[in-house]
Structures are given as structure tokens and as C-alpha cells.
Subunit: 332 residues, 2 copies
């Protein structure tokens, strides 16, 4: 039944990531030399939509593994308020599938002009973005035609993992990345985690994770919106307790994204509290024996993409044609 | 009818902010000396819930007015993953009403230990947080008893405005702040912008603003959740076009928070697009003649707090007792 573009492209992830990791290892090693020479005091991330969500994963990864503070761009500062930031101590990561959005290119150019070291993570070869940055880390996901990004998003996370593993000289993570494609293939064979029964008739819900689980919850919530028209909002499970939890009193549907890492105990304690208040909760996180904790969120996403594509079809929706969306959105 | 704590405290904002601005002017001038000597390459903000949302306003303000990149803390990096960041080039602003949350205090301490200049914006005098930071900018909002923060949130924004105005030596903004309390009083007398008719029967909605309007949309969405049990999610109107806009195809309710600043044209263009797709939209932004654009979001919030309190009562809810919430939430 893998007939939609979305299903086909999501299923290509293990293959394209295997190629990417092999091809990019020397690229990452070269980039790390540049980065270490530059010695950034911070990392600043430019991206929109799914690329912005990949930036959330990058924030957790770089802060947790390298201890360097990470900031995400608020695009209007440059495009609307016409302010260029002082980024001369910053490594700037520009994340873009197309490498062609004028607002992203303009932000990247301003960052370089202010003295930042700029690296583009971009899927389209020879894009206009490549012209303005110092260096490029190609995503190597191949052409992506479905409006809902899948393999390009997973390829962005794997590229960030490889760059950080090289930067930290983390042999365990580098070794784990070699096994990532095989684990993604196993995730494709896993039983469905999210089902039509949970999604049907759902108008809105929340998606809760912690740390890296929260990072991918942002992407899961966006896909629930795009592919199934469900108003899903992602929260850190801890932040959810600071106010939003009151929604559970009206019988809220909750998608629980456990990442099975160092945050699992804290996350489970909160989820137990939330579930005891009467939420309708579905756990979609899982892990596979031997998986490195930093790779688990990618496995969860790999399975989720296929689940949500199938559910959309079962509900009579076309995953390749979300109402009202285009592949490239241009905004100021 | 101002009988609830929430209504009483919201209505105290003009008075407490007038006192705060008067009392804090010499404090801000001293802090700015420290900051300029330290010469931060970035600003790092620590806060949760409404304080985190005040941090979003601070991000836009500092980036737009001073050109210094701003990052928001992901609390789990410290509390769950036990990583201390390298913040020796950072001005760290710690925002907390109580100054007593152990996770916030622990993050502030780690930041100071790493060499950051740490300043606490805190409402409770002599709090444990004051013991661990380099300096304090008191919020002076007085005791706040309602679970839904109102005057303490507005006082946080005015404190940030005053600090940035002093830092930038922006005479126009400093002068505008002198008029802010009077404008807040006018906002209290303005006609209601949000009505029971729009809110009744509403299960979920989105709140859209741009730049500073987006910053306060985050707080507006939280209050809709806390006080009325409505699942409201805030977006930058530009970001909303990158996927979430598909929700409008199912007839989505939208709250439009115009801030009447440099972003107004870009925001209006997008809102016209969204409205033309059939959204059910309510505009709650407004401005008052002579108001400085950076003060407008505070006026919108001042009116909104009173509107939402009244609507909650009209719907038979107690604004002072949101189901399932406590004033101080402790999380890792």
C-alpha cells in the first residue's frame, strides 16, 4: 500500500541516511576543524517549519553534548524589523530543504556579514543558499516531492548527530550512527504505534515529550496538523504542568512521546500525574534493543511518519495533498 | 464587578508599574553600567510558564533594539541531563515571580558559576534566587494571589522595557515609559475586545501575532487555557503559513493580535490571506493615540486580562480557581 509519495519517501530514509553518513564523514571532519578554529561562544540556528523543529533537536543535542548555548532565530527581527544581529562569536547553522527561500538566504547573508561562521544544512545541491555561506553540510536526502517533509527531516537530524559526534569526538555516538540505518529499517517493520481509532474524530490534542522527545514532538504535532488536519500542540511535559495541564479537566487527548533517555524517569513521573487526571493518552514512543538514546527519537519519527500516512488514507484523506498547502512557502 | 483576585490584580497594573518605573530607574542605570563593562556576546533567559513568555518579549526587544542574540533556556539540559553550559560571554536574565523554584535557582547558580553576569527579575523581595545572582531588578508588582499571573507579567515586560531603554539610551522609549501607566489606565477603560460570544462553545483556537505581537500571543494563549479551559496555541503569523494554516480548511477560530508596529503590514497581509480561507477571526489588538509601538503589546494584554476574567465569570467559571492548578508548580 506504499503508493503515496509520503510513504515512499519516508521509507527511503534508511537508505538515504546510510549514504549521507558515509559521504559526509570527511565533510564533518573538515567542518569541525573550522568550528574549533573559530571557537564559537554560541550557536545560532536559522530555519522555518520542519527545519525550525530540526533546530530544536539541534539545540538539545549541542547544549547537552557540548555545553554550548544555542539560540533559534526569530526571522522577523531581520526581515520585518531590519535589524542585523552581532553574531561574530556565533556558529550559525542555516537549515533549509530547498536552500532557496529569500528570507532564509538574507538572514544567512546578514549573519556572515556580521562575522559569524555560517554552515548550511541544505538538501538541494548548488542552491542559492550555498553561495552565501562559509560551508555546507549536504543533507543528501534526494528529491522530496511530498508536501509533508519526512526523509529530509530525518536526514537533517542525522546530519546534526554526525556533526556533533565528530565535534565532540564521541566514539560511542559515531559507532551508533553506523547502526542507525539498520535500526530505522527495523522501525519500519515495527507494529503501528498510532492508530486510526485514536485519531478518528479528534479535533485537537497535545503531544508531550521531554528533552529530545519534546524536540521531535514539535515535528509530530506539525504532521498531525498537515496530514490529518488535527490541531495538535507540542509541549515539554514539564512545561505542560505549568498551566496547560488544566485542559485535561475537560478530557484531553494526549500523545506521549517517550524518548527512553536520561529524561525518562522525570517524563514518566509527569505522565503518570497527567494520566491520573483522566487524559486519553496514547504512548507512541518505543526503543529498539541496542539503540543509542540520541538515535531513539529518529526511530520514533520513522514509525510515526508511516503511521500517520496510513491513518490519513484510512480516513479518506490524501497525505500528498494537504488542503491549502504548497511545498515551498515564502514569507517575510 | 471587580470582585475576583484576578480582576483586582490586573487592574492594579498601572499603579504598580508607575511605582516600579520610578523606583527602578537608578537600579537600571547601575545594572547597565555592569552590563556594559561585562559586554555580553549574547543574552540567555531562564524562566518557566508566564516568565518564559516574558522571555519571548525580551528576545524580540533585545534583538530588535540592541542587536544582541538572545537564547531561551531549555530547563531539562541542566535539571535532567545535568549539563552546565558555557555562559561566560552571556548576560543571563532569570525571570521568576516567586524567586523560589529550586530548578530555576539551580540553573541560575550554574550560570553564575560558568562566568555569566546574572540578573534576576523577581517579584518577591529577599527570595532565595536573590542570594545566587549578581544583581536584581525587582518587579515591584506586590503580592499576587491569583493563580493566573497578570500584574506580575505586565510588570516583567515593563521592567525589561526600562532596562533595555536605559541600555540603549533610548530617550524616546524612556519618555514613552513615563506615559505607560496612564495608557494602561486608558486600556482598562477601553471597550472589551474579546467577548463571550466568541469564546463560548470554543474547544480550541489559534492566537496569531508577529514579532512583539507574537510574544504576547504566547501569554494570551496560556491564559485562554488556564482561565477558560480553551486549547489555544500561539503562532507567529508567518510561521502559521508554513503548515498549520491547513487547519483553517476545517473552519478554525483565530484570535488576531495586531501590535501596530513595524510588523503590521506583513502581519495584515498574512491575516488577509488566512481570513480569506474562511477562518472565524476576532481581532483583539488595538492601539491608543500617542502610544510608543513597544508599549502597545502591554496595552493589549491589559485589556485582554480583564476581558478573559469577565468572560470566565459569564461562563460560570471561577477565574481564581482554574481546575487542577496551583500558584507555584515545581518540576525538574
Amino acid at each position: 500500500m506504499n503508493t503515496t509519495l509520503m510513504a515512499q519517501e519516508a521509507a527511503q530514509s534508511p537508505h538515504v541516511i546510510a549514504q549521507q553518513l558515509k559521504q559526509n564523514l570527511p565533510v564533518c571532519e573538515q567542518l569541525v576543524q573550522k568550528i574549533k578554529t573559530f571557537n564559537p561562544a554560541m550557536v545560532y540556528i536559522i530555519g522555518r517549519g520542519s527545519s525550525d523543529h530540526a533546530g530544536v533537536f539541534a539545540k538539545y543535542l549541542i547544549e547537552v553534548e557540548l555545553g554550548i548555548p544555542v539560540s533559534s532565530s526569530a526571522p522577523s527581527v531581520h526581515s520585518v524589523f531590519h535589524k542585523s544581529l552581532k553574531l561574530d562569536k556565533a556558529l550559525v547553522l542555516v537549515i533549509s530543504q530547498s536552500g532557496g527561500s529569500p528570507d532564509i538566504i538574507s538572514q544567512a547573508k546578514a549573519a556572515k556579514d556580521s562575522g559569524a561562521l555560517t554552515i548550511a544544512l541544505v538538501n538541494t545541491p548548488n542552491s542559492p543558499l550555498s553561495e552565501v555561506v562559509d560551508a555546507e553540510l549536504p543533507l543528501c536526502a534526494g528529491e522530496e516531492l511530498a508536501i509533508a517533509a519526512t526523509k529530509s527531516y530525518l536526514s537533517t537530524l542525522s546530519a546534526i548527530l554526525q556533526l556533533v559526534a565528530c565535534w565532540k569526538q564521541d566514539q560511542a555516538l559515531l559507532k551508533a550512527l553506523n547502526q542507525l540505518p539498520a535500526l530505522l529499517s527495523i522501525a519500519i517493520q515495527e507494529p503501528n504505534k498510532l492508530t486510526r481509532e485514536f485519531i478518528e474524530e479528534l479535533a485537537h490534542c497535545v503531544v508531550l515529550g521531554r528533552g529530545f522527545g519534546y524536540a521531535v514532538s514539535r515535528e509530530i504535532a506539525l504532521k498531525l496538523k498537515e496530514v490529518c488536519g488535527i490541531h495538535a500542540e507540542a509541549f515539554s511535559s514539564a512545561e505542560f504542568l505549568h498551566g496547560p495541564v488544566t485542559l485535561v479537566e475537560k478530557s484531553l487527548s494526549v500523545i506521549d512521546v517517550s524518548a527512553f533517555d536520561e529524561s525518562q524517569d522525570a517524563h514518566e513521573t509527569i505522565m503518570t500525574d497527567i494520566n491520573s487526571r483522566g487524559s486519553r493518552t496514547k504512548e507512541i514512543g518505543f526503543t529498539i534493543s541496542g539503540a543509542h538514546p540520541r538515535c531513539v527519537p529518529l526511530l520514533v519519527l520513522q514509525r510515526f511518519y508511516l503511521d500517520i500516512e496510513q491513518i490519513a488514507r484510512e480516513l479518506g484523506l490524501d497525505p500528498d495533498k494537504p488542503a491549502g498547502l504548497k511545498k515551498v512557502t515564502k514569507t517575510l
